[in-house]
């Protein structure tokens, strides 16, 4: 043992990779005639838009009717979830060569490169090679940011989009952070941003003037995280499998829906997708939230908490359907429906095996078998419950029904 004390800690290096205008870039890659043109992928609202469309005022989440007015001549495509998933998987497979510690989302990834300089050499050069490799192998532009933590790596990449590369080193934090708009910090959404705006906080530097006690008093526990983050501190690890705060699925209907059976069928389908995703992470949910968007009256939403967490479709659907019945009381069509699971408890399978009765354990085995069948043959291999009514009415591919707005993981 050394008498000089613990060895100095290796400085953390996190890499954040973002697929630029992902869906639109894939479409421009597939069809060269779209290159250089404003391209939108989405149905009902914009899911992704090319930089050419952004330059003409389009943005993600914008209703398509508005986008057509903002950007006449824009090319609008429905897109294909299965194709985008395949491109994302290919990209992340190339990233996995850099580090086994990787966390992926639909169009971005975090990699922990801490201590890998001896293996990779200069990390900025290695990141530049990764960008080139992805461009050559997959054909897509990506932006890469490096930083001493997740937050700074993402801030680095956001500042040089598209097709950029930047490293914010620990010594740069004092000069880079203070001037940034405060909503660039993770955890500053619309509500927190509005609260801070009332206090005259516009930049990260403004936020630093507030003591931790004040921020905790204003926002509860997240106030402490804000206090750390405005100083460039973020200890969140890069995990192979993130335990999400919630898993949600939603879709817009091609034609507004008035028949409650269609609403229930779609709710069942979306919930089944969300529960399958949660089961894949070995999570059981306690809370179910359902929302519907009326054509005129806007959104209605409600949530209920179960007495015990569950990862079973039937249990969660029963609760979701009851919520839907309470929400769908107006004589007005619905254009969008969604469901979210939250309040997750880990390793539900082990716990329920111990305490569940025979029927429950049997159902659990059934759902796990269905998951295995769907993993191998695609989600469409089994269509169950009230969603059976969509057989023949909606197109299907390997990933399930082809929805107007793909029910992607959020």
């Amino acid at each position: 043992m050394s008498a000089t004390g613990p060895a100095p800690r290796t400085p953390r290096v996190i890499l954040h990779l973002d697929l630029d205008a992902f869906f639109a870039s894939v479409e421009q890659l597939r069809d060269p005639r779209l290159r250089g043109k404003p391209v939108i992928v989405g149905n009902g609202v914009i899911a992704s838009c090319s930089y050419e469309a952004r330059a003409r005022g389009c943005y993600a989440g914008q209703p398509l009717s508005e986008a057509r007015r903002t950007c006449p001549g824009v090319v609008i495509l429905d897109g294909s979830e299965a194709v985008y998933r395949a491109f994302a998987e290919r990209t992340f497979a190339l990233c996995a060569d850099l580090s086994p510690s990787m966390e992926t989302f639909l169009d971005e990834a975090f990699l922990d490169l801490t201590g890998s300089e001896r293996l990779h050499g200069d990390l900025l050069e290695r990141a530049a090679r990764l960008k080139e490799h992805i461009r050559a192998q997959v054909g897509l532009p990506v932006t890469v940011g490096l930083g001493p933590n997740r937050m700074l790596a993402k801030i680095a990449s956001k500042s040089v989009k598209p097709d950029g590369l930047r490293w914010i080193r620990p010594g740069d934090v004092g000069t880079v952070l203070p001037g940034l708009p405060v909503d660039r910090l993770p955890g500053v959404g619309r509500r927190v941003g509005a609260e801070l705006g009332k206090l005259g906080v516009r930049t990260v530097g403004d936020l630093r003037a507030f003591p931790v006690e004040t921020l905790v008093q204003m926002f509860g526990a997240p106030g402490r995280a804000l206090h750390d983050r405005c100083r460039g501190r973020d200890t969140r690890p890069v995990a192979l499998r993130e335990v999400p705060l919630s898993v949600s699925r939603e879709t817009a209907f091609a034609e507004p829906v008035t028949d409650p059976r269609n609403l229930e069928g779609m709710l069942y389908y979306l919930l089944e997708r969300a529960v399958r995703h949660a089961r894949g992470l070995h999570l059981a949910a306690r809370t179910v939230r359902v929302w519907i968007d009326h054509t005129e009256a806007g959104r209605m939403a409600a949530a209920r908490t179960l007495p015990a967490p569950s990862d079973q479709d039937a249990v969660l659907y029963d609760r979701a359907r009851r919520i839907l019945c309470r929400l769908f009381v107006r004589r007005e069509a619905v254009r969008r429906v969604g469901v979210a699971l939250s309040g997750f408890v880990a390793d539900a399978a082990g716990q329920s095996d111990l305490f569940a009765g025979g029927a429950d354990a049997g159902r659990e085995r059934l759902y796990r078998s269905l998951d295995r069948v769907r993993s191998r043959f695609g989600h469409s291999a089994v269509v169950a419950g009230p969603s059976v009514r969509f057989l023949g009415a909606l197109e299907q591919d390997r990933n399930g029904f082809v929805l107007r707005t793909p029910s992607l993981t959020k």
Binding site: L29, R30, V75, L77, D78, R398
Partner: protein
């Protein structure tokens, strides 16, 4: 741009080289289409079978989506993106 679904079995002449397959000619009904460019390629699985997908451009400028099923060595033309 307009996507037209086709879902037709077609004959394809292709190069297999260096672990990659590249379609060169497509024979569709009585028409031969020369592939001027493979613009994108990706893979997916159907059960245990790997399926290779290709976006290919032909001299008219139209872009076709082709799929090659490795299990039964079948080529399919599943869509074309047309101008207008």
């Amino acid at each position: 741009m307009r996507l037209e679904r086709l879902d037709e079995a077609v004959q394809v002449r292709a190069d297999f080289q260096g672990g990659r397959v590249s379609p060169r000619w497509i024979r569709r009904k009585h028409q031969e289409l020369r592939v001027t460019q493979v613009t994108a390629r990706w893979e997916d699985r159907r059960g245990s079978q790997k399926v290779h997908y290709f976006s290919v451009q032909v001299p008219s400028g139209d872009v076709y989506q082709l799929e090659f099923h490795t299990g039964d060595l079948l080529w399919k033309l599943n869509a074309v993106m047309l101008d207008g």
